[in-house]
Symmetry: C2
Subunit: 542 residues, 2 copies
C-alpha cells in the first residue's frame, strides 16, 4: 500500500523558487571580482538563473552535461549553479588552488563542455583550455567592459550574454536522483576522484544543514560563506541560505582579515563559515586594529581542526559561538557539528573547550560508526579510536567512473579515511587520517594529537608527526617542527613539554626542525611528501 | 546521468534509530493514563517499538495493514506508532472526540485490523467493536493489573504483551513511498476522508517542521505536545522531537490548566503546541494561582485562530513567544508559521501583534497561492482574498478510496477550503472557510474577521457569523452571539462597536443572542448547524 501524498521531487531549483517567492527582496550582497560591492535580490537571482538556463538550452547544452565553474563566491556564481541545474546539467566546481595540470586532468575526466570563469582565472584557463577538447564555451563572469583580450575562443562576457535572454524559462521536470553537481576530492595520493551529487542529495543536505543543531539558519540571519563554493559546496550554504531565506554575503576572492572584517561589519553578518586559516587572518586583523564583532553570533569552523586558542579567543574576546564542524566532499559535506546537548550544556571553562575541540555529533541523516581494521564496530567510550565510517542520503555511494570502490562496503558504509573516537554522548573526535596514523607495535598513535599538543608550545609555529621505520616497533613517531620566527627551541625541551600530557609510548623518538612544511591545495599538511622526504631517516632509537 | 549518492530511503524508523543512537538517554516523560508520571529514554522506546513490531509480525500482521490507535499522547502510544510503521503497517489515529458512530464508520472505511487503545477509551471501543468485523486484536495500553474486565475478545494488556518479545527485530526495508499512517479529516459535511501519509512525507515533514523558522527544535529543547497525536500527527512533533533529540513530555489525557502547568514547571518545558482552548485554560490557571512560566520560551498555537488578547498576555505577562501556526490534516499538517523576517523584525507594540495574528509564511516544501473561483492567482497585497491552495511533498495528492477528487487539480494544487490573503512579505492570513464566506452582491465578507472583531468586545464570550438569504444581495451577515456570563450587551452597542473597524458594507444586518454555539469534535464552530438553524431567518433589511 502506497501513501497518497504528492509526488514533489526534491529539485534544487525549488529552493531558489522558494527564496524568490517567500523572500523576494532579501539580498545577495557580493564583493565582485572587479572590486565594488554588488546587490541583488533572490527574485533577481532567480530571473538571472533562468536566463542562464534559457541560454544554455538555446546553445544546445542539455541534461547530464558537465559545466564547470572556476570562480569565487559571488551572486553570479550562484546564479550560474542554479541555471546549470535548472536544465538538468551538472555544475562542476573546479578548485583554482590545484595545479593547472590537475585542473586539466579533472576537466578531462569530467568531460566538461562549458565553463563559467572569474576574471581572476582567465589566465589559468588560457593555460589549460587547449588540453580540454570537450570545452566549447567559456563564459567570463564579468561585463563587456571588463572582458580582457584573450587567446580563448568561444568566449563571452556573462552580462552581455545574459542580455540575450528574457528569463522566460520553465525549469525542467527532472528525476530527483538526476545528477546536479560534481566536485573532485583533492586526494593526497592518486588521481582526484569525482563525487556526483543528485538533486535529492543536495535538497536533503540543505534541510539537514539548516536545522537548529546544524547551522540553524533563519530568515533573520545574514550569512557570509567564506568557504568557497568549490570547497565542498560552500558546506551547503549555497542551498541552505536561499532555502531558509537568509541574506547571503558573498566575499568574492578577498579573504584577508581586513576584507572579511569589512563585510562582517558593513553587512551586519550574523553567521559565517570558513577554515581556520581564514579566521586566523581575521583575528590578527582585529587584534591589530582593536575592532570588535558586535553583529556576528556564530561561526562554523571546519576543513581542518580548529586550534583551541582560536576558539577561546572568539568566545571570550568577541562573544562569538564557535561551532566545530566536520564533513567531506563525499558527504555533501556535512558530517557533524559540535553543538551542546543536555549532557554537555552545563560545561564551563576548560571542560567546555575540551568538548568544543571535538568534531561533534551527527544530525538526522548522517549515520556513523568507528570500526577496527576487521570492520568490527568499536565502543563509544571517547577513547577507542578506529576507522570512521558514514552512511546517509547525502553520502556518496561511489565515485565518477567507478574508481575508488574500496572505500564503500556492501552495506553502503563509506570509509572516510579518518580515524576517530566517539564518546558516550555521541560526540566524535578525529584523531588522525587512516593513512597517517602511526602503527607502533600494532597499536595506533594519533599524529593529530601529537601535532596539536606541540603547537601549544610558545616557540612552535607548526608541527607534523609521521611514522618512520623502526626495527622493533615497525613504526615510531618522528616530529617535524617549524619554529616560530626568531625562536630556536631545544629538542629536549619540547619532549619534556609533551611528557606528562600523552601516554609515554606516544612520545616521539626524534624531532627535526625545518623552515617549512609542505601543504596541499586545501591547506592540509602533505604527509606523503614528508614521509617520502624522511623515508630513510634513521631514528636514534633504531 | 544519475547522481552517485547513497540510496537511503526516508523511513520513520530511521528517526527513532537516530534518537536511540545520538540521544539514547534523552527522556520521554509521560503522564500515564493510570495517573503517575513515567520516564523512559529514546533507547528504551526504540527497543519497545521493536518489540511491538516483532509481536505484530509474529501475529501475522503485515505491510499495508491498518492498525488503529485510540489513545492520548504517551510514550506507549509513540512506541506503538513506530512499531506499527516498522513492519510497514499503517498507524491509523482515531479521534475519540468523534461520535461512536463516526469512529465505527472510519474504522470500517480503513478496515482496521488491530487497535492500540487507552484504558480511558475501552468502554467506547466496547460500544463499537462489534460493528468493525475486520478488527481481530485489541491491545490496551496498560499493564496486567490495570486491565479492566471487558466484553472485548482478543484483548491483551500492552505491557504483558510486550514481555513476550525480546526486541531482536530488524526494521523492514521499505519503499519510502509506502503508506505509514492515516488520519481522517473531521469534515463538517459529508463522510470523513482518509489522508494516507507515506514514510517519505513524514520524514520530509519532520525536517521541515524542525527548521529554525518552523518549530526550531534542538537537543536542548523540552517539548510538550499537548496537541494530540490523533490531531494531525501532533503537528509533526512525534517525528520532529526524536529527529532532533529533544526531550518529549507527553501529557496523557490531562489538558486542564493545573495539569499542563504542572508539567511545564516540573519538566522545565521550553516549547509546547496546542489549540487556543488549552491555552485559555492554562492562562486562567496562571491568573488564579499567580504562577509564572520561567522555563517556557515559545508556543505554537494552531487549529483555530489565536485570540489577540491571548497572544498579548503570553508575550507581555509571561515573556513567551507565541507562534501562530496553520496547517491541515491533508498537509501532515504544516502550512505556515508566523515568525519574523527582516521586513517585520522591527515591528513593536500593536503593529507586531497585528502581524502575529496572521498565520505566517511557508517554509521550504510548502507552496501556496490564493486564487479566485476561476483559479486565477490573486496578488499578494495583504487584502485580496481568495481560495488558498497548496502543494508540497507532505501534502495529500488524494484521499483514501479516491473520494474528494474535486479538492485536487491537475497540477496537484490542493484546495484547502480556506479563504485567505497573502501580503507582500509572504504572510498569509486566513479570513474564512470557503463554505462559510458570505457572498454579498458577488463580493466576499470574511466571517472570521467579523467574529474576531466582536470577540474583542468586553461583553461577548463567543460569536459566529453566517450568511442568510437576502432578496437583493443574495446573502447578508447575521451574527450569533453568546454574551459573557452575567452580561446583557445591546444589539445597537455591538454594531456601534464594530462600525469604524470594518468596511461599512460588512456590518451585520442583524444580531441574535444565544446561550451556546455548537462545536465540532475538534472545537470549531459548527457553521452548518447554525446555517440550518437560521435558514428561514428573515433579516430586518430583507
Amino acid at each position: 500500500m502506497l501513501g497518497l501524498m504528492q509526488q514533489w521531487p526534491l529539485l534544487n531549483h525549488k529552493i531558489l523558487d522558494h527564496a524568490a517567492t517567500q523572500h523576494p527582496n532579501r539580498e545577495i550582497v557580493s564583493r565582485m571580482v572587479e572590486g565594488p560591492i554588488a546587490r541583488q535580490t533572490y527574485a533577481e537571482a532567480n530571473l538571472r538563473a533562468r536566463k542562464v538556463a534559457q541560454l544554455l538550452e538555446r546553445e544546445g547544452f542539455c541534461a547530464g552535461d558537465r559545466i564547470a565553474t572556476l570562480a569565487w563566491n559571488t551572486g553570479r556564481h550562484l546564479e550560474a549553479w542554479y541555471g546549470i541545474m535548472g536544465i538538468g546539467a551538472v555544475y562542476h566546481t573546479l578548485n583554482p588552488r590545484l595545479s593547472p595540470e590537475q585542473i586539466a586532468w579533472i576537466m578531462n575526466d569530467a568531460e566538461d563542455c562549458a565553463i563559467f570563469v572569474d576574471l581572476t582565472f582567465v589566465p589559468l584557463l588560457e593555460e589549460i583550455a587547449a588540453q580540454v577538447p570537450t570545452l566549447r564555451k567559456v563564459v567570463v563572469l564579468t561585463d563587456r567592459q571588463n572582458l580582457p583580450p584573450s587567446t580563448l575562443t568561444n568566449l563571452v562576457a556573462y552580462e552581455e550574454w545574459l542580455s540575450e535572454a528574457d528569463g522566460d524559462f520553465v525549469w525542467k521536470a527532472l528525476d530527483e536522483n538526476a545528477a546536479c553537481g560534481m566536485c573532485y576530492t583533492s586526494g593526497t595520493t592518486g588521481n582526484p576522484k569525482g563525487v556526483v551529487y543528485s538533486h535529492r542529495s543536495n535538497v536533503l543536505h540543505a534541510l539537514i544543514a539548516s536545522l537548529p543543531d546544524s547551522m540553524a539558519l533563519s530568515a533573520l540571519d545574514v550569512v557570509l560563506p567564506i568557504v568557497p563554493m568549490f570547497h565542498a559546496n560552500a558546506w551547503g550554504i549555497a542551498q541552505s541560505a536561499p532555502m531558509t531565506g537568509a541574506t547571503l554575503v558573498m566575499p568574492g576572492g578577498k579573504m584577508d582579515g581586513a576584507s572579511v572584517y569589512d563585510l562582517l561589519d558593513t553587512e551586519k553578518v550574523t553567521f559565517s563559515a570558513a577554515v581556520p586559516t581564514v579566521w586566523m587572518m581575521l583575528l590578527q586583523h582585529l587584534e591589530g586594529t582593536g575592532k570588535m564583532l558586535p553583529h556576528l553570533k556564530r561561526v562554523v569552523i571546519g576543513g581542518a581542526a580548529c586550534p583551541r586558542a582560536m576558539m577561546e579567543k572568539f568566545s571570550r574576546v568577541y562573544d562569538v559561538e564557535v561551532i566545530h564542524g566536520w564533513g567531506m566532499t563525499e558527504m555533501s559535506p556535512v558530517g557533524t557539528y559540535c553543538k551542546l546537548k543536555p549532557e554537555t550544556a552545563g560545561l564551563t571553562g576548560d571542560a567546555l573547550f575540551d568538548l568544543r575541540q571535538k568534531q561533534g555529533f551527527t544530525p538526522f541523516g548522517v549515520e556513523m560508526k568507528v570500526t577496527d581494521d576487521e570492520n568490527k564496530a568499536l565502543p563509544w567510550d571517547g577513547k577507542t579510536f578506529g576507522r570512521l565510517k558514514v552512511r546517509g542520503p547525502a553520502v556518496a555511494a561511489s565515485y565518477f567512473g567507478g574508481v575508488g570502490q574500496e572505500n564503500f562496503d556492501a552495506e553502503d558504509w563509506f570509509d572516510t579515511g579518518d580515524v576517530a573516537h566517539i564518546d558516550k554522548n555521541g560526540y566524535m573526535a578525529i584523531t588522525d587520517r587512516a593513512k597517517d596514523v602511526i602503527k607502533s607495535g600494532g597499536e595506533w598513535i594519533s599524529t593529530i594529537e601529537l601535532e596539536n599538543l606541540l603547537i601549544g608550545h610558545p616557540d612552535v609555529a607548526e608541527a607534523a608527526a609521521i611514522g618512520v621505520y623502526h626495527p622493533k616497533w615497525d613504526e615510531r613517531p618522528l616530529l617535524i617542527v617549524v619554529p616560530k620566527h626568531g625562536k630556536s627551541p631545544k629538542k629536549e625541551d619540547l619532549i619534556t613539554f609533551m611528557e606528562d600530557k600523552i601516554p609515554k609510548w606516544w612520545l616521539p623518538d626524534d624531532l627535526v626542525f625545518v623552515d617549512e612544511i609542505p601543504h596541499t591545495a586545501t591547506g592540509k599538511i602533505q604527509k606523503t611528501t614528508l614521509r617520502d622526504q624522511f623515508k630513510d631517516y634513521r631514528l636514534p632509537t633504531a
